[in-house]
Symmetry: C3
Subunit: 135 residues, 3 copies
């Protein structure tokens, strides 16, 4: 990991945060009386479940864009910095959504913005490099 | 990204298509009156949600197989070409399924075929290389 | 794939096992009379669906941690060996959960342990390397 250690650490922290969200769903099964395999039955459980699922839904976008951004720009620090913004957005999403469905907006917006910068930043850079090199 | 720029671009386009599917679900919440955290309540919304979820379900298969195919065969163009077939299948899946559940078959079949070629193509190639090198 | 062929093969086998779980859900639709886009309606179908979904939920943790473990420790064999333990846990999870929701515990525990070793093993190693190199 000489190449992108900070991006690797941010990736693993994102997976740890996501794992914590999954834990909350598992604990919610007994707490709210929602036995497996059901994933509905109590509004608090359903919000906890959606927190995990929505984060899962965004993980491929985030992780792939993060690494392609880091590799295409050749910058570990900048990519990891944007990744930390994504992490902060996801923590706010978790704390907001677990309070009320309406309070999930700000955190969601922050993580969407960070993911968008990574995705379009990588896409633009790679296309630019190909045009330049005439590949 | 000197190594596999086309595969990187196809990966990011797949994530963009998937992001568009997620957007449709978000918009569907107000359009069909399905408030978060519910994911059921209106057949059109449920089909839109399944379009996104099924694509999420296949993204790990597609992305990992795509890259391992490109790396193991040492070919950016061929891997990216099969990846484009997957993308076309996913677009047909989206347009078909959003019309009617019964119309999701052809697009699904195309993307499954493309993903299968990538997965078994990569697996066969890597095993072959190991046998040859006596690793 | 001169670098981590065994980890690549374990990754593709994990995707094949996951694909088999998806197939069971697809077949369950006709077997249990649960027409798309519904994902509820019969307890056997719902367990099959959760087997697939829970495996999807863990795939990002497993795959990213597996590769970062292999790269950071520079060891294909050890990473792949722990990956095989994860695979065994997932097979037990499948056979247990498809019998009864209560029987999903042992397989789940084994795969969670293997994923945890990969995740914390990679995280610890990368932080250690950064501290050592004063990066």
């Amino acid at each position: 990991m000489q190449i992108h250690p900070l991006v690797a650490i941010v990736s693993l922290l994102a997976l740890l945060l996501y794992f914590y969200m999954s834990l909350r769903v598992g604990q919610g099964r007994s707490k709210y009386g929602v036995a497996a395999p059901a994933v509905t039955g109590h509004p608090d459980f359903e919000r906890d479940y959606r927190i995990q699922m929505n984060t899962l839904e965004w993980l491929p976008i985030f992780l792939v864009s993060l690494w392609l951004f880091a590799i295409s720009w050749g910058s570990d620090l900048v990519a990891a910095g944007i990744g930390v913004v994504w992490l902060i957005g996801r923590v706010l999403y978790l704390t907001g959504y677990s309070r009320a469905a309406e309070a999930r907006g700000p955190g969601f917006g922050i993580q969407a913005l960070a993911a968008g910068v990574l995705l379009f930043g990588a896409l633009g850079r790679i296309v630019w490099l190909m045009v330049q090199h005439g590949a």
